[in-house]
């Protein structure tokens, strides 16, 4: 797959939230206002890109030579947890402004299934190092896109009368479902139309 194809696939065709159901917790939890949605999206994209590279290296240069591939899940989650901690420390030290924006979202990312999801997917899809990185960043961008769209919808919905039982989470799910219907327009034919 070319890099353009990877980007289109992970942003639109198999969007992490709307078609693969990865990262639904932040999709519901952090989509109440668009500022925090952007912050969360950026933090996730950043961590997913780096995590893709590091888990690729761990898998191909540590687990495969030592015949320990069954430890994949265990080692990946440890790598991601320590990576998130490490990134948090670096950002805090070097860029207080960025830390202000992303700080509170970083601890939440360890338990975001999208990050572990892309790490496992890179291995099962057999991507090389650069492809893994692109897939990670692309999936992060797709996640951000849907999260920001959703937060805008929910901000507008605040002003509209919604039946009591549907307030909050239920209506968010229903709007998400309608968005997923719209995203169904992006399928494999998009790739062939755009890239030939």
């Amino acid at each position: 797959m070319t890099y353009a194809a990877i980007f289109i696939t992970y942003i639109f065709i198999s969007n992490f939230i709307l078609t693969q159901f990865l990262g639904l917790c932040p999709f519901i939890g952090v989509s109440k206002n668009s500022e925090s949605a952007i912050g969360m999206g950026m933090a996730v994209t950043f961590v997913m890109g780096i995590a893709s590279i590091i888990t690729y290296l761990v898998y191909h240069f540590l687990l495969v030579p030592l015949n320990l591939t069954y430890l994949q899940t265990l080692s990946f989650i440890l790598v991601i947890a320590s990576l998130v901690q490490f990134v948090e420390m670096i950002i805090q030290k070097n860029s207080p402004a960025l830390y202000q924006a992303l700080g509170i979202f970083l601890p939440l990312i360890t338990t975001n299934c999208a990050v572990l999801g892309i790490a496992v997917m890179n291995i099962t899809e057999g991507y090389n190092l650069m492809e893994s990185f692109s897939a990670g960043v692309a999936a992060g961008i797709g996640f951000t896109l849907v999260l920001v769209l959703m937060s805008n919808i929910r901000e507008r919905m605040e002003l509209h009368p919604v039946r009591k039982a549907f307030k909050g989470v239920p209506i968010a799910f229903i709007s998400g479902g309608l968005m997923a219907l719209a995203f169904m327009a992006f399928d494999k034919s998009l790739l062939t139309n755009l890239l030939g």
């Binding site: 159901f21 917790c25 338990t111 572990l116 039982a165 997923a180």
Partner: protein, 212 residues
């Protein structure tokens, strides 16, 4: 069984159902609920991991230093997830394939880490086991319910384990010929979850209203 113990066991089923009330573990719930058998398989895997992680967290609660407790819990959970993965790969290859990426993702299922953090590290082993069983069965019920609705309407079948001469697939006459396809698509899962959640919040608010 005293009333309090009974409460610990049963509250995960309805009152504090992890999926519909606490809104935890949503990704696997929607991701694997395409066939009833996948829902049951996922539920069994989660019950196993939840049970043993709760037991071990409860046993080790005085040994694990407070500052590194979350990483320690994650390692305990990941170890049991690896066991489940290997057992399923060996004995139930079709379910292993169907669950796919959601099997390793049990590690980051918020229900399990949530119960370790909120319950098992403060309570005795006995209570932790009851809590794990209640929450695990509550999760299984929720996943199976969603899977049942999606499969019956989306493809007009109910897929269970093949036993003997029974192929494991029940066909529903009219819906099998004219299925409501949207239920088996991703969009249908999100819509259904929204309506179910609305139903449960309506139901619990109505019940709360009559009690007070």
């Amino acid at each position: 069984m005293t009333g309090e113990k009974k409460m610990v066991l049963t509250r995960g089923l309805f009152k504090e159902n992890p999926v519909f009330i606490l809104m935890l573990g949503l990704c696997p719930t929607l991701g694997v609920s395409t066939q009833v058998i996948n829902g049951l398989g996922m539920g069994a895997a989660v019950i196993f991991v939840l049970l043993f992680s709760n037991i071990f967290v409860s046993l080790l609660k005085n040994i694990i230093p407070n500052s590194v407790r979350i990483p320690s819990y994650i390692v305990i959970i990941a170890a049991f997830v690896t066991i489940v993965e290997m057992v399923m790969h060996a004995f139930l290859p079709s379910i292993y394939k169907a669950l796919g990426i959601f099997l390793p993702l049990i590690v980051v299922n918020c229900i399990i880490l949530g119960r370790a953090e909120a319950f098992a590290n403060k309570n005795t082993i006995g209570d932790s086991i009851l809590d794990a069983l209640g929450m695990g069965v509550g999760f299984t019920l929720a996943v199976t319910l969603i899977a049942l609705i999606r499969e019956v309407f989306g493809s007009g079948t109910i897929t269970l384990m093949p036993i003997g001469s029974f192929s494991g697939v029940i066909h529903i006459p009219l819906l099998y010929t004219y299925p409501v396809r949207i239920f088996s698509l991703a969009a249908g899962a999100l819509l259904l979850m929204g309506y179910l959640k609305a139903f449960f919040s309506w139901y619990s608010s109505r019940k709360g209203g009559t009690q007070s």
